[in-house]
């Protein structure tokens, strides 16, 4: 359902440039790295090789538990050095560079495991110390490790480690609200990265914006799958309703902003129906904020014309609706009634919105 990006010629023409302005660099523009299935194959072999090295270290007991943190730091440094030797643009890599990039990636993941155990041993399991140290590591990797996948991992994991830090706080109510605030900050930060993407990609943050945008989106959706994460036992639950309310405000602000950018009145009858529907959705799903987060991801995916983000939104919506349905403490009969009622409200709201929007073109090509 997303719009594909315009062709290169159309984009250049829209920017006031000759359609053939890119012809001089056509070779560069089309320069193929390896196709994804070759990357998958050599990446899988690199992972197997790196894990075999890990098996060797574990089997021989060469690393003492007290030295895990040192080895973790060394592994992180080595992974950064290895990664900086190859091209940072994954699309420009050949299969050999892909292989080396995957080795470096495994090394960085191994560094994380070693540091968690090592710092945990030193700090006697203090979650604030472990989480804080890992946040620092993720920030270092995010900045110094020039790789899309690594920055995606680092941005999402840094937020996860912040939640781990909260695990050391005794005040459960404080943690519940703080957790929702962390998630909301990540959601609004991620939304900004996607909304302001054209400007960010042209500036100094070009290498960081997109992977961080994906990382924060995955974190928000994952963190809001409440019970699933609570099942790991390391995170206390959030308060939920503040996250739902904040996300509802965010979705409404996004819709109003889009209307303004399209030259439409920011608030009119059509917008009012959308706001009422978002508010109704927020009220009905106040214990499952992930549903509104998924709707927000869908909107951002459409806005940014990004198929991957849009796909994440579709998967997240399916998962959170299923989780919502599964988690309701009601009989199957009541659950089915709630689903049908929710569906009919949405379909009815759509019917009213189409009439108030007053634009028959909407349904022309349905």
């Amino acid at each position: 359902m997303i719009l594909p990006p315009p062709t290169l010629g159309d984009a250049l023409a829209a920017a006031g440039l000759p359609r053939e302005a890119g012809a001089g660099g056509a070779g560069a523009a089309n320069a193929g790295g390896s196709p994804w299935y070759v990357r998958l194959l050599v990446g899988g072999l690199a992972w197997a090789a790196a894990l075999s090295v890990t098996g060797f270290l574990a089997a021989t007991g060469m690393i003492d538990e007290d030295a895990f943190a040192y080895w973790g730091t060394a592994a992180a440094a080595a992974s950064i050095v290895l990664a900086r030797r190859g091209p940072s643009d994954a699309d420009a890599r050949g299969a050999v560079a892909d292989f080396v990039a995957q080795l470096a990636l495994v090394l960085s993941l191994l560094a994380r495991v070693l540091l968690v155990i090592g710092v945990g041993t030193w700090a006697d399991g203090n979650q604030a110390v472990v989480g804080g140290a890992m946040v620092v590591l993720e920030i270092v990797l995010f900045i110094a490790y020039p790789d899309f996948l690594q920055r995606f991992f680092a941005s999402g994991l840094a937020c996860c480690w912040l939640l781990v830090v909260l695990g050391e706080v005794d005040d459960v109510l404080f943690v519940a609200y703080a957790r929702d605030i962390v998630t909301l900050l990540a959601a609004f930060g991620g939304a900004w990265l996607w909304i302001d993407r054209p400007r960010l990609l042209a500036g100094r943050l070009a290498d960081y914006a997109t992977p961080a945008g994906y990382g924060l989106a995955v974190f928000v959706v994952g963190a809001l799958l409440q019970e699933t994460i609570a099942a790991f036992g390391r995170f206390l639950p959030g308060a939920r309703w503040p996250a739902t309310a904040g996300l509802a405000i965010g979705v409404v602000l996004l819709l109003v902003w889009v209307r303004g950018r399209l030259g439409r009145p920011r608030v009119d009858a059509g917008a009012g129906v959308l706001i009422v529907l978002v508010a109704a959705l927020a009220y009905a799903t106040r214990i499952e904020p992930g549903i509104l987060a998924a709707v927000g991801v869908l909107l951002l995916g459409f806005l940014a014309r990004d198929g991957l983000l849009y796909g994440l939104g579709v998967v997240a919506l399916g998962a959170t609706v299923w989780h919502f349905f599964y988690g309701m403490q009601e009989t199957m009969l009541v659950k089915s009634g709630i689903l049908v009622a929710g569906g009919l409200v949405l379909l009815g709201g759509r019917w009213v919105w189409l009439r108030l929007a007053g634009d028959a073109a909407v349904s022309d090509d349905r």
Binding site: P6, A15, D89, D91, M332, R350, W353
Partner: protein, 349 residues
């Protein structure tokens, strides 16, 4: 020069900028144009469809959940009748929408799936003791008229999946602990999917089926995977095990047959898909099979080593070195083939 017709992705624009084809200002403007906000009509269409999709999904799911809640209290006739009603409805939708249009084709595919559900419901209500494979085989057979009517590639794939399931369930009755039967099953599975691949590549276009290049690739993988798995298992279990007991699993002559067929098919792919029909995907699939067999063999050899000595560390290191060499060589070879194919494409008139 095909470049201007390619999608203006940020990565492509950036490479143009890095190559000097776009200056900083041009790059910024081109990015803004490529990532421009979708127009108002597109937004309205998107929101309309989003509400329709979510609303319809919630309503249908609620209705299904309602019947699931009451399923146990429905009689035999009620259950079968309910599925029949759904089948007639989607069949009617397919005919109403037109079997040559996407909506009708999707409804036709749903009708095939519901045929299977109906057969299952009848089998549950009036148990005859039939083997499960017959359910999938009969569903596939009853789906053929829909396939011929809709000429819908995903339905062709569904029919192939049903045939695979029927074959698997039919063979599993006979498998037991007999390695030879497993090997023959893998051969049969590969033959089924290999035949499907051949029929697709030779006759799909003339039959009005089209699905780009991914469907035949998926089917080719489904044909190659049983051979590679069978060959790897034969090497690891029959060839490199030195002290097998009389009751241990063996693939025997059938395993050898799988291995020989795998070698022949892999060699054919490496010869034919390098120059005659250049396709890097098929070469990568063949390399995946080679790596699987070699790695399984090395793994088995290392297990034998561990069993004969107390050294637990060195085998891991040997395995790591082997995988590094295997991965590196595979990467280098595939890269060379990719560049050679690209060069040949550029040279072609």
């Amino acid at each position: 020069m095909s470049s201007p017709t390619r999608p203006a992705t940020p990565a492509r624009l950036r490479r143009l900028h890095a190559a000097g084809a776009l200056d900083a200002d041009g790059y910024r403007r081109a990015l803004a144009a490529a990532l421009a906000l979708p127009p108002a009509a597109a937004w309205r269409r998107f929101l309309d469809r989003l509400m329709l999709a979510i609303g319809a999904t919630l309503t249908v799911t609620g209705i299904v959940a309602f019947f699931a809640y009451n399923w146990a209290s429905l009689g035999r006739l009620g259950r079968v009748g309910l599925v029949e009603l759904a089948l007639v409805t989607v069949g009617g939708v397919a005919l109403w929408a037109g079997v040559d249009r996407l909506g009708g084709q999707l409804a036709g595919m749903a009708a095939v799936a519901l045929t299977g559900v109906l057969l299952g419901a009848i089998g549950q209500a009036y148990q005859q003791g039939a083997d499960p494979w017959t359910l999938f085989a009969v569903t596939a057979a009853l789906g053929l008229p829909w396939l011929m009517a809709t000429r819908f590639a995903p339905l062709w794939l569904l029919e192939l999946i049903l045939a695979n399931l029927a074959l698997g369930l039919w063979w599993i009755i006979d498998l037991g602990d007999d390695g030879g039967a497993v090997a023959r099953f893998l051969l049969a599975l590969s033959a089924l999917n290999g035949g499907a691949w051949l029929s697709w590549t030779q006759g799909a276009a003339s039959a009005g089926l089209s699905a780009g290049r991914w469907l035949p690739r998926v089917v080719a993988l489904a044909a190659l995977a049983p051979l590679a798995i069978g060959a790897a298992a034969y090497v690891a279990i029959d060839v490199l095990r030195y002290d097998a007991g009389p009751d241990d699993l063996r693939f025997g002559p059938s395993g050898l047959a799988v291995f020989v067929v795998w070698v022949a098919v892999t060699a054919a792919i490496l010869v034919l898909f390098r120059r005659r029909w250049p396709d890097l995907f098929m070469l990568a699939a063949a390399m995946l099979g080679i790596c699987t067999v070699l790695t399984a063999g090395m793994f088995r050899w290392l297990i034998e080593w561990v069993q004969r000595s107390s050294d637990v560390g060195a085998p891991w290191l040997v395995m790591a070195a082997f995988l590094l060499a295997e991965g590196g060589l595979t990467a280098v070879w595939l890269r060379r083939q990719q560049l050679a194919m690209a060069a040949a494409e550029d040279d072609s008139p």
